[in-house]
């Protein structure tokens, strides 16, 4: 019983603090942790990219490899529109990797909060269908729903709901499950054993899930705008 209560306690999304405005605006832990991650990574980026030169130094090389990787990924998948989408896809990927790895700096992963994964999935779907209508026009965007054949139109319409749900739940489920497993392991054997398991569940699985989320978003997006 003791373990169960402890576990449920650990799994509860917590409210970190309340902003004392309009009778108190609650700030969830996931948002606070996101702010910390955003602040840290922004500082890291400023450090990487300040004083950039034509002939890159080591710091600039790291930034260029990171951005070049994201840009090339978008170029390969999205073709001529990569410039529009690369920053958003990259931001999403960076945020997910940071969030999934945040356990390593002692923060509860923001992606353990269903709000976060749902929000990300909603934004991804908004991006996919928004770009489809933006680039293809109203007619072209609507025509996407009867491709490759009008018979599949109902499925395509269902996908508007299915895609964000699957994106959201896959990410949330993985991070949540990893979190539960790690909490249980930490309760049972607090020393040494959690290290390799943490590397698998937090690092490996976290990165895999971030990649899957970004990759699927890009795939849907390329399908929507091609």
């Amino acid at each position: 019983m003791d373990i169960k209560e402890e576990l449920i306690e650990a799994l509860q999304p917590k409210t970190a603090f309340e902003i004392p405005l309009f009778g108190g605006i609650p700030v969830p832990e996931s948002a606070l942790n996101s702010w910390i991650l955003i602040a840290l990574f922004t500082i890291f980026c400023i450090w990487l990219t300040h004083g950039m030169k034509k002939v890159p130094g080591r710091r600039q090389m790291v930034a260029e490899i990171l951005v070049g990787f994201i840009n090339n990924f978008c170029k390969d998948n999205l073709g001529e529109h990569w410039r529009t989408f690369a920053p958003y896809i990259g931001t999403m990927g960076i945020y997910l990797v940071l969030a999934n790895l945040s356990e390593f700096i002692g923060l509860t992963p923001p992606t353990k909060d269903l709000n976060v994964t749902a929000g990300l999935a909603f934004l991804a779907v908004l991006l996919i269908y928004g770009s489809s209508f933006r680039i293809k026009g109203l007619k072209g965007g609507l025509h996407k729903f009867v491709e490759p054949s009008p018979i599949v139109a109902p499925l395509n319409i269902l996908e508007i709901g299915i895609r964000p749900l699957s994106l959201c739940m896959r990410l949330f489920g993985n991070v949540f499950a990893a979190f539960i497993i790690m909490e249980l392991v930490k309760m049972l054997v607090p020393i040494a054993v959690p290290i390799p398991l943490s590397l698998y569940f937090d690092a490996f699985d976290g990165i895999i899930q971030a990649v899957v989320f970004v990759f699927l978003t890009t795939l849907f997006l390329s399908e929507a705008i091609e």
Binding site: I8, L11, Q12, P13, K14, T15, P26, V27, P28, S30, A31, S34, W35, I38, F41, T42, C45, I46, L48, T49, M52, K54, P56, Q60, A63, E64, L66, V67, G68, I70, N71, R83, A86, P87, Y88, G90, T91, M92, I94, Y95, D113, L114, N115, V116, A118, G119, L120, F122, L123
Partner: protein
């Protein structure tokens, strides 16, 4: 709050993502993509410039080669012309020298002939005189009339013919 909470706090995700997007655009994607573009543009420009320069160099090389060939040909022409002129000059000089020599020889011959003729004439006169003198001595009379002289000359001519 339940574990599967989906509520108004979702707004934080949108705000956070927007903030991160703006920050990343300013501090990561913006400057780095710009730098990468600039660099690839510079590389492309450099390669284009190098190609253009190579082409130009090749063109000038061909031009120079053509000029060199032309110059060689011209030089050859000049040398040929000079040689030809020299040959002509030489031949002209030679011909002139030959003419001079021939003329001089002819003159000399003529002179010699004239001298010889004059000498012969003198000798003939002398001999005629001597013959007249001798004849006058033999005949004991003066033989200096025109008729005598003609007779001696005819005799001498007869002797010359037989000799």
């Amino acid at each position: 709050m339940s574990i599967l909470n989906l509520d108004a706090n979702i707004i934080y995700v949108f705000i956070n993502l927007a903030i991160l997007l703006v920050l990343m655009k300013i501090f990561l994607f913006g400057p780095v993509t710009k730098m990468l573009d600039e660099r690839s543009k510079e590389i492309a420009d450099t390669i284009d410039g190098a190609n253009a320069k190579m082409e130009q160099a090749e063109q000038s090389r061909q031009e120079y080669e053509a000029q060199l060939l032309n110059a060689k040909k011209e030089a050859q022409d000049i040398v040929d012309a000079a040689k030809k002129r020299g040959q002509q000059e030489y031949e002209a000089q030679l011909a002139k020298a030959r003419d001079d020599i021939a003329r001089m020889q002819a003159d000399a011959q003529k002179q010699a002939q004239a001298d010889r003729d004059a000498l012969l004439e003198g000798a003939r006169q002398e001999i005629a005189m001597l013959a007249l003198l001798a004849a006058s001595k033999v005949s004991q009379q003066k033989m200096n009339s025109q008729a005598d002289r003609d007779m001696v000359n005819a005799f001498l001519a007869e002797v010359e013919e037989t000799a």
